[in-house]
Amino acid sequence: MSGRRRMVYLGQAKVLGVADSAVFQIGDNQGIYTRYRALALQREVPNFIEEEGTFEAYPVFIEPFPDIRFPPGATKTTSQAGAIQVGSVKVLGVSASSVMQIGGSGPVRMESRIKHIRQIRPPGPYSNPTGTVAATAGDTSLPVEASPPAPGAEARKRESTA
């Protein structure tokens, strides 16, 4: 199915950032297959613990994508004439298992799964781990939390369990 590919003439490319397993390729390749998984967690009180959460706990990372294919028995004929000419390209960022390519490519398959979670405190006054006292909306009055943990308490706890 893969026939000849057109030549590509590019005058100038300017890419400011390539991050998080992204690829900027100049030239041909036989195919592309990228996968991307992310747990996007927002907390009202920014307190994050190391090695927290697993992808397997959420169905969005497990359920298979529908398999879309070129119809079996169908024929595809491609003829190449001429070239591709581009003057200039400017890209601010390529990230998160993405590909920017100048040239011919084989079959491209890309998958992305993102779970976005927001954790919000119940209404009432409280003190967050940084020691700042704040209050959320509503007239429900909850007891103010105890003072923030002492510096290094979390590390000591981990050492004792290890």
Binding site: A57, Y58, T77, V99, M100, S112
Partner: protein, 61 residues
């Protein structure tokens, strides 16, 4: 029923391209390809707003 697809790739000229970002398993391709199959799942249902104590996510290893 049979499907017969004929593609003729001719000359192509573009002046300039400006892109802010390519992300989350996306592709920006200048050239030819056999096929592109892209799938994306983004889950932000109402249940993903957790109002309650800020407990760690399950499955801590």
């Amino acid at each position: 029923m049979s499907v017969d697809l004929y593609v003729e790739n001719k000359c192509l000229q573009v002046g300039s391209i400006y892109i802010i970002g390519v992300s989350s398993s996306s592709t920006f391709l200048i050239g030819d390809t056999d096929s592109i199959s892209a799938a994306s799942a983004f889950d932000t249902p109402p249940e993903s707003v957790i109002i309650g104590p800020l407990v760690p996510l399950s499955g801590e290893r």
